[in-house]
Amino acid sequence: MAAFPTQFAALEPYADWALPSEADRYGKRITSTMDELQEFYDAAFPLLDSSTEYLQGAPIDGISDEDRNLLWLFSSLITVSFPIECWRQPTVPDSGPASIDVTVEPRP
């Protein structure tokens, strides 16, 4: 079964990035290789970049399952944008063993 709206079918191979919690999205990011992150970023970024209108037409109240999955996947893209666009490594430079954990977050 398709996870995303039909015009986002190209993202189906990356459906495992549609994770509802920031903790899981960040966890997947830091356990991925830069190659994996780059591949995901390259596939998802152009679709986000061209989808502003679509996303603005997707109300949060009563959001469909496919749109919710898309929202989670793009949320993952946001966390992955940091390794790709700034750090050139999966973790934050100079962050060492520090951790900051989410305890309350919206669903969706």
Binding site: E22, Y26, F45, L48, D49, T52, L55, Q56, G57, A58, P59, I60, I63, D67, L70, L71, F74, S75, L77, I78, T79, S81, F82, E85, C86, W87, V92, P93, D94, S95, G96, P97, A98, S99, I100, D101, V102, T103, V104, E105, P106, P108
Partner: protein, 424 residues
């Protein structure tokens, strides 16, 4: 070269009558000083423990662990819609009253009454003892006399405060001029909430220090900007628009050239796509005119105000109309729990949700860098290898915080001395 004007005295530090001598951090590496802070500060001042939105209806409650005041508190909304706070402790044998699986973990929920897990004593939402297991086995027990121990509680702009001071200053008065200046800000509209928590290996004041100065930002966080912009920022360094001090409270007002950026090439691709970044969505919701205490310099370049309401509650108001809070809860002289909550107006659609997500994630990227340096700072300060440290004018609020803490402790000691002397 200065980009923003300074007070007539030539520096903010001298303007506020603070010393320009090197500072020392003896107050941040001493178990003895921390013990005094617990008594003089955390048991005397108003402490922000949450927001009214956490207690939506009668019977809503949450608990808050306050190691710094050596207790756990229980906050509840009673049947009349009033807020009550109690020591989270059963009146019978001192057991912790409300907890789930782990006694040290904070909990929240809704209930009609509180029942102690240990011997089943029950209390109503006003803390009154309503049931004693095998009451007949006790001796002259008057249930009226054995309610939960109450704590003073009050609300300012929807922020719930408690104090252990038996004779507290009214909360609104305690919040002072700066508190008054932000009254009327529509906090109640911003109910979309993200909360983060971290255990930090440093004295609580050292992390406040990191967030009350932005002198470090162009250096430590240099890779957050695209490289050309980053070089420019590092060259300019950092200057605040203005600083203010009112009693123990302090604020710094900063420029915010990133929301939206003058030139789209200054920011990263994801920011260009989502029209969002560290400062939040570039186009925030319309909330009308801001209260007079916000952006006190009335600068068109304004981006963010950071208020520190003593001792440990920071409130940051951002130009695109959202806010966040920082809390620093000491657990020992060299450890504390750091909490951040980011509050937005609820997003109407998926795009707005993603714009907010980017602001939240960006906060975490920065915060991880800040948090990581702290444990090492703590150990090196404890080495005592260097005891005097120069502070620049952009670090004026650090000076103020450490001075206020020492003043509170000294006042506490002299009061205690006076009481002891009277006792003789």
């Amino acid at each position: 070269m200065a980009h923003f004007s300074k007070p007539a005295e030539g520096s903010w530090t001298e303007h506020f009558g603070l010393s320009t001598e090197p500072a020392n951090y003896a107050d941040s590496i001493s178990p003895e000083f921390y013990a005094l802070e617990q008594e003089a500060i955390f048991k005397k001042t108003w402490l922000n423990v949450g927001r009214v939105e956490q207690l939506p209806k009668a019977g809503s409650f949450f608990t808050k662990e306050l190691d710094a005041a050596k207790t756990s508190v229980l906050i509840v909304k009673n049947r009349d819609g009033e807020l009550r706070a109690f020591h989270n402790m059963c009146r019978h044998r001192g057991n912790k009253l409300v907890w789930n699986d782990f006694p040290k973990a904070e909990v929240d929920g809704t209930c009609r009454q509180f029942t102690c897990k240990y011997h089943g004593w029950r209390y109503d939402l006003d803390g009154k003892l309503t049931f004693v297991q095998q009451e007949g086995e006790f001796f002259d027990l008057d249930k009226e006399q054995f309610g939960l121990a109450p704590i003073s509680i009050d609300v300012w702009e929807g922020f719930i405060f408690v104090t252990f001071n038996p004779d507290p200053q009214p909360l609104r008065e305690y919040m002072g001029r700066m508190g008054a200046g932000v009254e009327g800000y529509p906090f109640e509209l911003m109910t979309q909430k993200h909360t983060y928590r971290a255990e930090i290996g440093s004295n609580w004041k050292l992390f406040i220090d990191a967030f009350m100065e932005f002198y470090h930002a162009p250096v430590l966080h240099n890779r957050q900007s695209v490289s050309e912009e980053s070089r420019k920022l590092a060259k300019y360094g950092y200057e605040a628009l203005s600083y203010d001090i009112d009693g123990p409270h302090a604020m710094v007002s900063s420029w915010g050239g990133m929301s939206p950026p003058a030139d789209l090439n200054m920011v990263k691709p994801i920011e260009r796509t989502l029209h969002s970044g560290l400062f939040g969505p570039w186009e925030g919701p319309d909330i009308g005119e801001l209260p007079p205490g916000v952006n006190p310099a009335k600068s068109p370049a304004w981006g963010i105000d950071s208020f520190l309401f003593f001792p440990n509650f920071m409130l940051l108001l951002w130009k695109p109309n959202w806010y966040l809070t920082y809390h620093y809860w000491p657990t020992s002289y060299h450890t504390h729990i750091f909490e951040t909550t980011l509050y937005f107006a609820p997003p109407k659609n998926a795009f707005e949700r993603l714009q907010q997500e980017l602001a939240v994630v960006t906060f975490k990227e920065y915060g991880l860098q800040d948090a990581n340096t702290l444990e090492a700072t703590q150990t090196m300060l404890e080495s005592g290898a260097v005891t005097e440290f120069p502070l620049c004018d952009q670090e004026v609020m650090l000076r103020h915080l450490h001075t206020v803490c020492r003043d509170y402790v000294e006042k506490h000691l002299s009061n205690a001395g006076a009481v002891a002397a009277k006792g003789v």
